[in-house]
């Protein structure tokens, strides 16, 4: 048992547990907070894979920015505990079950294939995730997509400001 394995097990168990709490908790704030906790555990898992940059960004962007806004909104709405609704059997549920089973099958396929050695994990995956290599690739090979995404985000921000400034009549 290596140290990485122990870390992985603890983090994975906590990540799954907090994910379950996220979807089952009645109180929306608790739900959002356990999602934040889940992000931390995910960041830890990225660290065991040597992906420091992604780990830091995971916390910085998701836990530190997006979830703060989510919690902000939940607090302003002052929601109480969610009430249990009796949901009828509908098409949405069927599709959800189908998609979930596809995901599980995919997961097992990849697991079995990597175990039998048919898929090999690329050797330089560890090098790929440092800040330097990501920056180099982003600003040379993928410069055009990067700039395009930048413009898209700028447009989205301007759109949000225009919508927010519109006077309600």
């Amino acid at each position: 048992m290596s140290l990485t394995f122990i870390f992985f097990t603890v983090l994975a168990i906590l990540a799954i547990a907090s994910a379950i709490v996220t979807i089952t908790a009645r109180n929306p704030v608790i739900s959002a907070l356990s999602l934040v906790f889940h992000f931390f555990m995910l960041a830890g898992l990225y660290l065991t894979l040597n992906a420091q940059f992604i780990a830091a960004i995971q916390i910085l962007v998701y836990a530190g920015a997006i979830m703060v806004l989510v919690i902000f909104v939940i607090m302003l709405l002052n929601l109480g505990d969610e009430e249990k609704l009796k949901e009828k059997f509908n098409l949405r549920k069927v599709i959800a079950v189908l998609l979930a089973s596809v995901l599980i099958i995919q997961f097992f396929l990849i697991y079995l294939l990597t175990r039998s050695g048919k898929i090999e994990i690329a050797e330089n995956t560890a090098k790929l995730s440092t800040v330097q290599s990501i920056g180099q690739v982003l600003f040379s090979e993928y410069l055009l997509p990067f700039e395009a995404i930048g413009l898209l985000l700028l447009a989205a921000i301007i759109g949000a400001i225009v919508l927010a400034k519109r006077k309600l009549t």
């Binding site: 420091q52 830091a56 836990a63 530190g64 703060v68 806004l69 919690i71 902000f72 607090m75 440092t130």
Partner: protein, 346 residues
Amino acid sequence: MEELGWILLEALIKALVIFTLILLAAATLVYIERKFSAFIQNRIGPNRAGPKGLLQPFADVLKLFMKEDIVPDAANKNLHRLAPIISLGVAIAVYAVIPLGSSFELAGRTIYMGVAPNVNIGILFILAMTSVGVYGITLAGWSSNNKYSLLGGLRSSAQMISYELSMGLAIMGVIMVSGSLNLNDIVIHQSGWKWNVLLQPLGFIIFLVSAFAETNRTPFDLPEAEPELVGGYNTEYTGMKFGMFFLAEYGNMATSSALIATLYLGGWQLPFNPEWVGLQEGSVWLALAQFASIVIKILLLSCFFIWVRWTVPRFRYDQLMNLGWRVLLPLALLNVIATGAVMFLI
């Protein structure tokens, strides 16, 4: 496996030492703040507990421990308990990556001053931790179930999110100059009086103002504006839970000072060549001198924080938002562009 044991032991000892130092620093800062404010307001300040009132912070902590812990009836008990822990924990966690000196050799091992000063995402870690720090105050405000607390919490999160952007962009200038996210490399890059404050004066000012906003200190202390909000986010806290928020505030002040010192004021660099006084590279004495150097910088910067608090009045909320979004953010962008242009031309 034996090597691993040593690494764990070293990390544990360092963490304990740093934890103790931060708590001591917080106590010292409380005392300095009370004496300093007394001096500014022409009072005497605490002078009963111990000589010159030096034991006052310890008396305060003892008092906080003895107090009854009151939790409001309508509060969300668990979150109410969790909030101060997040606040204090985040303030301390940042110290994990701040280098408090270069390395020294001991029993054949190179020991770095700091828990993990050489981690290659140092700055990102600090930004991540400060952005998570919002939760402590926001949750405290919400879970108390008190409208003033909630207002304080909301103000705080809006303020911290707004100033985080300018802070991050100001740091960008430092990263461009040093070419590294590793805090130890940034400090080494500033050796020989090449302090970043001289290379990045605009970035330094932006970072300084944002640091004031991030620590919720006057003139940006709207989350705990007493005349409007009773006490702000910590209104419903008593005893040691209140004490933890109090410690977190001073811990944050020490953390921000350490960051400013590390990023802009040369970190643990001595202001002169250490070989002039016979300190050798890799010796324990040099490491201690460097530690003293950064501690003095942190203390002086903390005094600056206190000085500003007792001389500058609080901003109005719209002024605060205007300053953050319309002044600091464009200036920070300008700083990044100017730095890039200069580096491109030279």
